[in-house]
């Protein structure tokens, strides 16, 4: 049974690697067009493999950063910590995270208005359920 589990794990790994490889191929193509260069298939494969491995490093660090702050949920603060060594990278990530946060806030506001408009017809229990639902969709 352990062997079967390992095999399935292996299949999932291959599937994930294939997705990363495909996406890296797309990104490299953009760079090719932008810089007027050509990537060999081998260089794209190498970038994919390195990206895949880098995800292992990121995942492990993020988990540790969250645990260091006594959290079990990884947040944007942990992601910023990944970039702490480079000023330009940190600035970029921080900017993106602020953009995301403000667009999340906007969506929340919109939903709040909607749900408060519909408030009259709802029982308190239903309202609560609606709020939870909103929060869940914001997390996604």
């Amino acid at each position: 049974m352990a062997a079967a589990g390992g095999e399935q794990q292996q299949m999932l790994t291959q599937r994930l690697k294939a997705a990363v490889h495909y996406t890296v191929g797309c990104l490299c193509q953009e760079v090719e067009e932008d810089k007027d260069v050509q990537f060999s298939k081998q260089s794209i494969a190498a970038i994919s493999e390195i990206t895949f491995r880098q995800c292992e490093i990121f995942a492990r660090d993020l988990e540790m950063f969250a645990r260091h702050a006594k959290r079990t949920t990884v947040t944007t603060e942990d992601v910023k910590l990944l970039a702490r060594r480079s000023n330009s990278l940190l600035k970029y990530i921080t900017q993106k995270s602020e953009e995301l946060a403000s667009s999340n806030m906007e969506q929340k506001e919109k939903k709040k208005k909607k749900s408060s408009a519909a408030k009259g017809e709802r029982t308190p229990g239903e309202q609560e359920a609606a709020v939870t639902e909103n929060e869940d969709s914001n997390m996604a």
Binding site: A18, Y22, T23, E49
Partner: protein
């Protein structure tokens, strides 16, 4: 003197300068006059040495706005006077773990070695890529960004 300081480096600087008398002047962060004399005589790089000052390459992001990233202003000697330490000059040595002393190789170091090994294996491949051929049957289009689909990258020839 040299061997003494290189082997017994556990305290800050020349460990040979122990003894209570000398410890007094060592309490500040900077070198004591005796330590300065040793550093000046044995380790300091001077023009007469005929070697270039070693500097580390500075981080630069090709795809991001460039901010000046020199936490160490000392690392900026005049052009040509410095030798930039290379992290890629000996890449052919890097597909196997090199010896360690007290600190083991980290996981990310092993991942790096593995990637170098993979590149070494692909080095002589022409045209078709074994990595691509191995992974292609595992690709599921629902895993990837559909927007990228239009671009038809080299790998995307759905079976």
């Amino acid at each position: 003197e040299r061997s003494c300081s290189s082997l017994q480096h556990k305290s800050a600087l020349p460990a040979c300068v122990t003894g209570q008398k000398k410890m007094n002047s060592h309490e500040s962060w900077s070198l004591s006059p005796e330590e300065f004399e040793i550093w000046d005589r044995l380790y300091r790089i001077k023009e007469s040495d005929g070697i270039k000052e070693p500097v580390l390459p500075r981080v630069q992001f090709e795809t991001l706005e460039k901010l000046e990233e020199t936490p160490f202003p000392l690392q900026k000697p005049e052009e040509g006077a410095a030798r930039e330490l290379s992290l890629s000059e000996w890449s052919v040595w890097q597909n196997q773990p090199l010896p360690t002393s007290l600190v083991d190789h980290s996981d990310r170091c092993h991942l790096f070695i593995g990637a170098m090994e993979m590149m070494e294996l692909m080095r002589h491949q022409q045209g078709d890529c074994s990595y691509e051929q191995e992974l292609q049957p595992h690709l599921r289009m629902e895993d990837v960004n559909i927007a990228g689909d239009k671009r038809t990258p080299s790998m995307a020839n759905p079976p």
